[in-house]
């Protein structure tokens, strides 16, 4: 592979005028035209600032400041730790060559300069630098695009003002936590105002994370526009979403899901699961796990889902979460597991009944390090004990 080095900048630092000129002649002949000179280490440091070279050809013995000292100072300064520095050493002595590397030199060429060797080393260092900077530029661009995409993905989730409005409308306390692992994730959740006394909650987790999983959350978002949340029958809605996703998802891509309809007029919670982690329900002070087994969304055309129904009176709460909560290994402990979730939820509800989710997330991160290996979504839905408005 041969990269064009015409735009590379080379600084030659040598107190000998003849040496400077002959080195310049040599590298100019190989297409490198942007060359600057310095006569000693002090001058060299100045020229590094003003010229911003991609490579330095550095003599060792010079008056005022020698090459070794100049190299040491450069390596200590910000932004020059990776700058290629090629020493020219007068002697082929092992000791001097070692001291060049100890000062931070990238490589050396021995004097008298052998043109072939000299250019091979210069070219090697410049190409390497160029590849690294290309790679860095690529990484910067990808990171920037991922941040944009992440912002787009966050926009799929209900805004906090909407969550608050819905909470007030149905006399609920609603709180949510969402964070992705590698910039983008496959988690998704939403809340649906079905009618005056029914509100729906959906939590979905596409397999894996990263770009593929994130694109699938956009697919789902679009599907929900086309197939609105069912106000009566959670299993029917999951079936409809499953068929639509099966059409578009390749084998091996699918989602776990849980959909629940809360009816504040009948005090009932009706729900169906598609392999989501078991949600936690608490009606009378003792939290339990709900059955959320079911075909993964997008796995099979033959999938059928089952409705379940439980009482959900004022004071009751429902906690939904994605698998990062149960599967993330702790710093000193095993992952929480489903049994661990129950005690985590119980503790949070008992200790801080006014903001259980906030402390639950705090407890979790007391044990688990960021960044997470998987996306984390957690939603707390609680009915207020105050009487619902009477105009319904």
């Amino acid at each position: 592979m041969s990269l064009s080095l015409t735009d590379s900048r080379v600084l030659i630092v040598d107190d000998n005028d003849f040496n400077r000129k002959s080195l310049a002649l040599l590298i100019r002949r190989h297409g490198i035209a942007k060359i600057e000179f310095a006569v000693d280490g002090i001058d060299g440091l100045e020229k590094v600032k003003s010229f911003r070279p991609d490579l330095i050809l550095l003599d060792v013995a010079m008056p005022n400041m020698d090459g070794l000292e100049m190299c040491r100072q450069l390596r200590r300064s910000v932004g020059h730790s990776e700058l290629p520095i090629l020493f020219q050493t007068a002697f082929d002595s092992d000791e001097e060559q070692v001291s060049c590397f100890e000062a931070g030199g990238s490589d050396f060429i021995s004097k008298p300069i052998k043109p072939g060797e000299c250019m091979a080393r210069v070219r090697h260092q410049l190409e390497r630098r160029k590849l690294f900077s290309n790679l860095n530029a690529f990484r910067d661009r990808v990171e920037k695009e991922l941040r944009h995409a992440q912002a787009m993905q966050l926009s799929l989730l209900p805004e906090s003002w909407r969550i608050q409005t819905i909470a007030d409308r149905y006399c609920l306390s609603l709180d949510s936590h969402f964070e992705t692992s590698s910039e983008l994730g496959g988690d998704f959740w939403n809340v649906f105002e079905l009618d005056d006394h029914r509100v729906g909650f959906l939590i979905v987790d596409f397999a894996g994370h990263g770009i593929t999983a994130a694109i699938n959350t956009f697919r789902l978002h679009t599907l929900i526009e086309r197939i609105p949340a069912d106000a009566q029958d959670p299993s029917a809605w999951l079936s409809a979403l499953n068929l639509a996703l099966k059409e578009v998802l390749p084998t091996g891509q699918f989602a776990t899901a849980f959909y629940a309809i809360l009816d504040i007029a009948t005090n009932r919670l009706r729900y169906a699961g598609a392999g989501a982690p078991n949600p936690v329900l608490c009606v009378d002070g003792e939290p339990t796990l709900l059955d959320s087994a079911g075909f993964l969304l997008g796995m099979s055309r033959r999938a059928v889902y089952k409705n379940h129904e439980v009482a959900f009176p004022p004071g009751a709460y429902l906690f939904l979460y994605s698998d990062a909560l149960v599967e993330s290994p702790g710093r000193h402990s095993r992952p929480l597991g489903h049994d661990g979730v129950i005690s985590l939820v119980r503790t949070a509800a008992n200790q801080t009944p006014d903001a259980p989710l906030t402390s639950l997330v705090e407890f979790f991160f007391a044990e688990v390090d960021r960044p997470l290996r998987d996306d984390l979504t957690a939603i707390w839905v609680q009915r207020r004990r105050t009487e619902p408005l009477q105009d319904r």
Binding site: F254, N278, L296
Partner: protein, 101 residues
């Protein structure tokens, strides 16, 4: 995840151990390649020494099933236990893939 291969008659066995998760996607190709074994009629994915499977891992099992079907090879997942069994049951994978206790 690590895996070892065994062949007995017309059956290929892949013995998986450790954790089967998102980061193992590249290994999947190696397991799929086992289905190219001449005269293979049955494919056993032994998960009895697997400690953990995430949703991406479940996806890999479904991909294996599809690849096996295309080659007319019958696939069975053998011996899931603990967390792995729980995940397989939760997602009803057993309705699509033959699971052997």
């Amino acid at each position: 995840m690590e895996f070892q291969t065994r062949q007995t008659g017309d059956a290929i066995e892949a013995h998986l151990s450790g954790r089967l998760e998102f980061t193992d996607h590249d290994r999947l190709r190696d397991i799929v390649a086992l289905l190219e074994t001449p005269k293979a009629r049955r494919f056993v994915v032994d998960v009895s020494r697997l400690d953990f499977i995430d949703s991406a891992g479940l996806g890999m099992i479904l991909i294996l099933q599809e690849e096996a079907e295309q080659k007319n090879i019958s696939m069975v997942v053998r011996g899931p236990r603990d967390d792995v069994k729980r995940s397989i049951d939760l997602a009803k994978i057993g309705e699509i893939v033959a699971i052997e206790g």
